[in-house]
Symmetry: C2
Subunit: 397 residues, 2 copies
């Protein structure tokens, strides 16, 4: 615990109640990422938490996962090989160069200091008037800025955790579980009966495999190594293709034809893998036709790209897709908005019911906030090695 | 007129009625395109038209336009520079090589002789039992195989032309007019208020310009030469960008920002122009935002690709699009099926009402079927030069 109460604005000590109204300020550290003039800087800033509004709580963060999507904001355009230290032992900072070609893409965040960490869990240490009964409870949260000692948040963005659930278990209730369920919801609502997924050995990919197995949806998993093939087979996957095998494209057509997959979810984005998937889906559909059509099949094929593991442009050999196709961005928040409250509630219930099974995340290393800015540690979690998953616990220092 | 009546199956002479039932056979020529073993062959085949079914008519074709989409089927994968004659003066044929790299894409049509010509107009010369009152009438038609002396077709695929409408005026009722109207219907039904169009100086592009002007929809026209800029200005266009100008990208962002365009229709398909349009639409949307979001704007941007003037892969710099985007194929037939009968009827009515204004096509040359297979003529219509438009009239020989 690094945060401490400080004097309130009126000079009274913090944490005190006066006239039934809490007057307090708390301070702590927050990991912030700042782009300015061709460099990206990571530092632990001192933050002061002001009085929570009536519907707000202040949470002592005890666990926050490092998801691939967090790295996008944390390091995004930076050249990791250019990393250098720029701080003191008690106030570490790291600086990176941003390659010329990536600067235009982040011009809009120039000069802004941004908090990082989409989701986390912890204990409520203070609350606004309408949220008093939250104090002392353990909650899961989503909303950014979780790599911090303290996070002030609206109660509607926090969920009380069931008794016995640890912060580590409750820290990843949203990004991966809701995305994996969101893929299945999206596929179903658009009439697809089988799914293709890339970078499928990720935590998200393992959840998707478990959901599809439980729901009887054929899933074609695409990975990049034998190690990842084994990992997915270990959680019950039956169809796993290694894109580095020489006969990958043939096997992809076979798998897509056999399952009838017409939708893909792609975490990679750059290069031609998405195109390969679309071509395979069209080929599977054409194989089911009896007559030639210059326009290709009448089967609609959809590729959703939800990540950017490869920053290079996406190359679409779309003449091999026919005319009934779409390639689109997929992002959790707009999906949830469009899905509606009832669907979101149903998804949330499933996440809670299967929190320690389908939606369990296995962390291989837990680090403190200061540790997260050690060059060797950063290199390790930035690498996104197969099976490795980091958790930040700010109480560790 | 080259077709002639031949003996019916029962030995009686053609064109005769017996027991109230027409017994006849008619013969004529049809332009056919055949892919086999690495070559593409165009020839005028002799065809025999059998008795029409009760709801069918036989039309003497008097006009059929050469649209870019027809060239796709006629020549598709062929290397035009490899053209050579392979026939007799009275039975001309042309043969082309298909480059190795394009063969896989046309494997499905290997060995099949395909009729060409999506739409046309002519006079009904014979009819099935339920269609007797069509005889002698002039009709517009859609359905392929129109580059022929005769076309047997179901009455539901033909439309009687108003008195005084010439075959040339009635030959292009569907492909360009319904596509141009289809773009506007698509944009409207998906909530877009301004449109971007590429290869905008085409006959289709000119129609789209006139529709958008009449309906008050801002249209950003993209062309490739000053000649095309002038052509479009001549039909009332106010926003025309030449993609070969050095400041094109900047001007595109300006035009898209000013109009608020969020949908593009692209005839080119290959290369990075589609990506440039999407980037400009996102940039316009981001400029309207007050706060940075790593996910880009929340504005949905759509690019439809409906042609393939550039056969190379489509390259999407999608990291510049945000996450709210989609790139899709657009094809008239599925659009019409999805739009429903009421919408299609409303569109058809407009085409007829504005047949000689908005939807008039200006042909620069009318050729016969045999002429269409003369190397010099083929090179001329295959080039798709600005402002040039060919019409086939099989009665010219």
């Amino acid at each position: 615990m690094r945060f401490r109460a400080v004097r309130g604005h009126d000079g009274s000590s913090g944490h005190g109640h006066r006239n039934g109204c809490m007057r307090m300020s708390l301070t702590g550290r927050e990991l912030r990422s700042t782009v300015s003039d061709g460099t990206l800087r990571l530092a632990l800033d001192e933050i002061v938490i002001d009085d929570p509004a009536p519907d707000e709580i202040v949470v002592r963060v005890e666990a926050a996962p490092i998801n691939p999507s967090d790295l996008g904001l944390l390091l995004g355009p930076a050249d990791v090989t250019s990393m250098r230290s720029d701080g003191r032992a008690d106030k570490p900072a790291l600086v990176f160069d941003i390659p010329e070609t990536r600067r235009a893409g982040v011009a809009a965040r120039n000069g802004q200091s941004l908090g990082v960490g989409n989701e986390g869990a912890g204990t409520v240490v203070a609350a606004g008037e309408q949220a008093r009964d939250w104090i002392g409870r353990r909650v899961g949260m989503v909303g950014g800025g979780m790599y911090a000692d303290l996070r002030k948040i609206r109660t509607r963005d926090a969920l009380p955790l069931p008794e016995g659930v640890t912060p580590a278990e409750g820290a990843a209730l949203t990004v991966n579980p809701m995305t994996a369920l969101g893929f299945v919801e999206t596929a179903r609502s658009e009439g697809h009966t089988a799914i293709v997924h890339t970078a499928a050995a990720s935590s998200l990919g393992q959840m998707l495999q478990k959901i599809c197995a439980a729901d009887g949806i054929p899933l074609v998993n695409i990975v990049r190594s034998e190690e990842q093939v084994e990992l997915l087979r270990g959680v019950g996957a039956t169809i796993v293709l290694n894109s580095r095998e020489p006969d990958f494209r043939t096997r992809l057509v076979d798998a897509v034809s056999a399952t009838g997959a017409t939708v893909g979810f792609d975490a990679i984005g750059g290069g031609s893998l998405g195109s390969d998937i679309m071509r395979a889906m069209e080929k599977g559909a054409v194989n089911r036709m009896t007559e030639y059509s210059r326009y290709g099949s009448s089967t609609f094929k959809q590729l959703y790209t939800y990540g950017a593991l490869d920053l290079s442009p996406m190359v679409l050999d779309r003449l091999a897709f026919g005319f009934q196709w779409s390639v689109s961005g997929w992002l959790l928040t707009p999906f949830l908005q469009k899905a509606g409250a009832e669907t979101v509630m149903r998804m949330r219930k499933r996440v809670f019911a299967e929190l320690t099974t389908t939606f369990a995340t296995r962390y291989t290393k837990t680090i403190g906030l200061r540790e997260a800015l050690e060059p060797g540690t950063l290199r390790a979690y930035e690498r996104k090695a197969t099976g490795e998953k980091f958790l930040i616990d700010p109480t560790l220092d």
